[in-house]
Symmetry: C2
Subunit: 237 residues, 2 copies
DNA sequence: TCTGTCGGCGATACAGTGTATTGAGAAATA
DNA sequence: TATTTCTCAATACACTGTATCGCCGACAGA
């Protein structure tokens, strides 16, 4: 009984009585709303309203709200350009990592949906296909392990970055300003002297730009993979 | 109809000695509920009911529901034992990574709350304090960068693992069984021949135990850090 | 002991949410 | 033209977080 048949449902015969609808239209409307005002803006009523339709109308095209969210995620996966197939695994993985980060910055809501449920839409699968394909190690398990590690890092790093962006927006301050200004609560906590190391880091730490931070962490992961697996000649496999 | 039976009226709230409340009690009740039935079980009404109180009573101790969630997260941070201060950075970070993973498996809801908002409770800060303290590199920025990378990886890896556990629970099948059995939808997609690499991985890949997978990814990150930073003698910074 | 104020707490209310059910009205078929 | 079928909107329900209000017990002063 569990869902199934989610991604390739046939469109219902479109009665052109009101404005015709389609899954595509619905998903795009939802994405537009989410891009503009966050995931809170994506309620079935609001999406329907954006399409001049009653809320229940959507259920002709969509089984449940979760399905709509899955579709939104898959749509964004479709925006991701696969790595050059002739690239070596390092540049391939690096390319993909940055693609995901870029997509998540275009659609800040993406990261809230990404880890939550398994993504098995066609674009997600195509993404995995090209990602796995870019790593040419001999052992399948080595490839899986490397890709999983990179994806885990990317996911966590992007999440942190987006969370930070949101916090800055909600306080109207940059983290740097905020530390100096500074959040009276944190100020008080640090003043207790219970967190000397933390205090030192906050006051003395530099603030490299986020892209660079992301990339240097990514470099750790790639270096670590490289130390344990042979470069493995790409063509031929 | 002059009803009435005035004598055995249900005793009007003769102050049934409202159980004394506290933030601690509320947070513990919320955690118990969440451990039992997931975050959905944590509504103010349900938490209040578990404490024999009306929903509005909680607002005497808590500003908003988000604050309650923050408190829950911080409580779990309190369960985490810091690394041995004499340990080198590698074993220190490894210890912390596993502590977080263990905590997230004890409290499956944790990972849904972790990345969402900045965690600045006392236990979270203490956690950061000991985490930063365990890495003795000379440059502050190198420490930050290393810790951030490890935490990002841990976060992403744990998220994937928990998501997988949930999916298995909801389908009643292990991922391995599921692939063999197998989800008719995925089956169909793979049969299209559009995802040859993916198909090969699914059918031929091994399924190492999750703890091992987590640890091997972690090893990549630690190795990568090691290649770029000097071991740095621990005592006497 | 009576009275007045105060304050904590419960009930109620409101604007939302996702979705099941129902009912109307139009198109397709006989 | 009559009947069936099918789409879509309206309504309804259970639930959410939270603002407001009003009761009622407890204490202060007379």
């Amino acid at each position: 009984m569990t869902n199934e048949l989610v991604w390739d449902r046939p469109e219902p015969p479109s009665r052109p009585s009101p404005t015709p609808l389609s899954r595509e239209l619905i998903v795009r409307a939802a994405i537009t709303l989410a891009d503009g005002g966050g995931l809170d803006e994506v309620s079935l009523r609001k999406v329907a309203a954006a399409l001049n339709a009653g809320p229940m109308r959507l259920y002709g095209y969509i089984e449940t709200k979760d399905e709509l969210l899955d579709l939104m995620v898959d749509e964004v996966y479709g925006e991701i350009t696969p790595p050059d197939p002739s690239a070596d695994w390092r540049t391939g993985l690096r390319h993909i990592a940055h693609e995901i980060r870029d997509a998540a910055k275009r659609h800040e809501w993406l990261i809230d949906l990404l880890g939550g449920r398994p993504n098995r839409g066609p674009n997600s699968l195509a993404f995995m296909e090209s990602t796995l394909g870019t790593v040419g190690f001999e052992s399948i398990d080595d490839v899986m392990s490397a890709v999983a590690a990179v994806m885990a890092y990317v996911y966590g790093a992007v999440r942190n970055e987006i969370t930070e962006i949101r916090a800055e927006r909600s306080t109207g301050l940059t983290e740097e300003q905020w530390q100096r200004a500074s959040g009276p609560y944190i100020e008080r906590m640090l003043a207790t002297g219970r967190y000397p190391t933390l205090a030192r880091f906050i006051y003395e730490g530099g603030h490299p730009d986020p892209a660079q931070r992301f990339d240097s962490g990514l470099t750790y992961v790639l270096d670590g993979i490289a130390t344990r697996h042979s470069p493995a000649s790409k063509p031929g496999g």
